[in-house]
């Protein structure tokens, strides 16, 4: 039997059993569409979370601090203002480093204003922080080294705060009261492209660390924020920093610990990949259910058609011819169902992604695995019963009711 004849017979058989063909196709399509859509949505969500984290700083970002996880905290002897300068000089892996003195909830208001004051996080730091945290200046300038040396009473505010405090005016050169101390606004940061921090409505202001320590009446530096020269140099930068700190602060009992954004990304990656696995398992069950449907339909089809198989054999069909026919039918249904499932799966992924505002990530592997699985199910359950029927003698098959 040549291919054209086989194709004709397969086509005739499928048309003759339209209902069955349609049901089988739907079963396969649902399974495949489910897998593709679910995995695409899961991976899209993962990508969104990762990009959110990347917005929080340079990918070469790292920080060194006491072991907060073990309950240690920084005191006035943990870091000195000279540490970051020295580390930058000594370690070739460290490009930038800024110390951070935090004022978690400071109040901010305009002079003579009856307005209620606002709360913001205060970062007392040095110019290097702009690279570590990926900050961009929209207006004016950022802190300079001379501001730090001079304990200058200047402040850089973020875009949200600028809008709240100066809805109409240019904030540059204006005075604001931070913890009742008047400071001059020298710069405004650009609004970060919709980040999670924004959603939580956290405002932040940046002042020279020297002045911040005076104002907050503390000498505690909580963290050193650094930027490594390259992604590969991050761990080198961390270990160099820790070594230098341990040498300079030999008297303290603190342990210095470094963290990188990379590690945090890895952790998030682990969590979301667990989620993706769970989601994938759910989708896999959908595929399995679709497969069982296909199996049932195929089994029924063959026992119904045992008589027909007997007749075809009586007319001279060889076992091979029968098998080719059933294989052809199974493959045709699986491919058609797979195609429809692919279209609906990809379409569904796009719709959900559009609604959730994240990119639909459709991996070719998901599509291939889903297709492969459905074809295997269709072929196996199409062929196994057909092979049983084809091994009966024609007389036995014809007696079958």
């Amino acid at each position: 039997m040549n291919f054209a004849d086989l194709a004709q017979i397969v086509w005739e058989n499928l048309r003759a059993h339209r209902m069955r063909a349609v049901l089988t196709t739907i079963g396969i399509a649902i399974g495949i569409a489910g897998v593709i859509a679910v995995v695409a949505v899961g991976q899209g969500g993962q990508a969104v979370i990762i990009s959110e984290i990347e917005k929080m700083g340079s990918s070469r970002y790292f920080e060194v601090g006491p072991d907060y996880m073990k309950g240690e905290t920084a005191d006035s002897n943990t870091f000195s203002l000279q540490d970051p300068v020295l580390i930058k000089e000594l370690s070739p892996a460290v490009e930038k480093m800024a110390p951070l003195t935090l004022g978690p909830m400071v109040d901010i208001r305009l002079p003579h204003s009856q307005q209620k004051s606002m709360m913001a996080s205060l970062y007392g730091t040095t110019p290097d922080i702009i690279d570590a945290m990926n900050l961009t200046i929209e207006k004016g300038r950022f802190l300079s080294n001379s501001d730090v040396t001079a304990h200058a009473r200047v402040v850089v505010i973020d875009a949200g705060l600028a809008e709240d405090l100066f809805p109409k005016d240019d904030p540059l050169g204006k005075k604001v009261f931070v913890q009742d101390t008047p400071l001059t606004v020298i710069g405004v940061l650009e609004k970060a492209p919709s980040s999670m921090m924004d959603t939580f409505n956290v405002r932040s202001v940046y002042t020279p660390i020297t002045f911040a320590q005076e104002m907050l009446n503390t000498r505690v530096i909580s963290t050193l924020c650094g930027v490594a020269v390259s992604d590969d140099a991050i761990s080198q930068a961390i270990s160099d920093s820790v070594k230098i700190l341990e040498k300079r602060h030999a008297s303290t009992s603190k342990h210095y610990v470094g963290n990188s954004l990379e590690e945090q990304l890895d952790m998030v990656g682990n969590v979301t990949s667990v989620l993706t696995t769970i989601i994938g398992a759910v989708a896999g069950i959908a595929l399995l259910v679709g497969g069982v449907g296909v199996m049932n339909i195929m089994l029924v089809a063959v026992s119904e058609r045992t008589r027909e198989i007997g007749l075809l054999k009586a007319l001279g069909a060889r076992r091979r011819d029968i098998m080719q026919q059933f294989l052809g039918e199974a493959i045709a249904l699986c491919l058609l169902g797979g195609l429809i499932g692919m279209i609906f799966g990809i379409g569904g992924a796009f719709v959900i992604a559009l609604a959730a505002n994240w990119p639909p990530l459709i991996s070719i592997w998901t599509v291939l695995v889903a297709m492969g699985f459905s074809v295997v199910i269709g072929v196996f359950f199409g062929l196994y019963p057909a092979s049983r029927a084809a091994s009966l003698s024609p007389a036995e098959a014809l007696r079958h009711l």
Binding site: I9, A16, E308, L312, A314, G316, A317, R320, S393, L398
Partner: protein, 228 residues
């Protein structure tokens, strides 16, 4: 042409075993027209199935044109059924979804005949059985007699040596039966070998000789001297 020696067929096993054939020996020369009669369960249909290679005997020998059929592989048997044997069933066994022409073409498809040739041959055969005007009808649109004529045309598709007919008129009225037997008679005159199972003496009367089966054995043979 056909020679069987000591054919037996046992269905089932152990206590449930049923002996359908208990040693049938027979020679059918080329051009013979044999009718087989006998009560239900006498083994005549089983015998025809074995002659038609639809099933294998339990023991015994079967030679078709001096070739040992029992030793053949399944694929060789399929080829034999396709090219050398034509089978006509009591219930016609046409494929309901195909039109008449396609039904007759099926054995030609499995025989590997090219498309154009196959169509020509099927049309020619259907013309011979008087259905040239019904080529695109579905089997359900035809009368029983017409359906059986399609089945006969199908059995002739690959110009077989032997036509095996299992009660071909069993589902037909007398008039249609006579038309069908007219076709068998014509095939006999063209020197085709025919083996036909029937219950009806007036059908058996068309044959050159009649074999009577009882309990899986040939118990009597009659020659019809006078051919109608």
């Amino acid at each position: 042409m056909i020679r069987v020696v000591g054919l037996t067929k046992v269905f089932g096993s152990g206590d449930a075993a049923v002996e359908a054939l208990r040693g049938v020996t027979l020679d059918i020369p080329e051009g013979d027209f044999v009718a087989i009669m006998g009560p239900s369960g006498s083994g005549k249909s089983t015998f025809l199935s074995i002659l038609g290679c639809l099933e294998r005997p339990t023991t015994g020998e079967y030679y078709l044109n001096d070739r040992d059929v029992n030793s053949m592989e399944d694929d060789e048997l399929a080829d034999l059924r396709n090219r050398r044997l034509g089978f006509v069933f009591q219930s016609y066994n046409l494929l309901p979804r195909h039109d008449v022409l396609r039904n007759v073409e099926i054995p030609l498809v499995y025989g590997g005949a090219p498309r154009g040739e196959r169509r020509e041959r099927a049309e020619m055969l259907l013309n011979q059985v008087g259905l040239g005007h019904r080529l695109t009808h579905k089997p359900a649109e035809l009368s029983g007699g017409e359906q059986q004529r399609v089945a006969i045309a199908r059995s002739l598709a690959n110009d077989p040596l032997v036509i095996l007919a299992d009660e071909p008129t069993g589902n037909l009225d007398t008039k249609a039966s006579k038309e069908i037997m007219g076709i068998f008679q014509k095939m006999h005159k063209e020197n085709r070998t025919i083996v036909l199972v029937t219950h009806e003496p007036y059908i058996a009367a068309y044959a050159k000789r009649v074999l009577y089966f009882r309990d899986g054995e040939i118990v009597r043979e009659e020659a019809n001297d006078e051919l109608r």
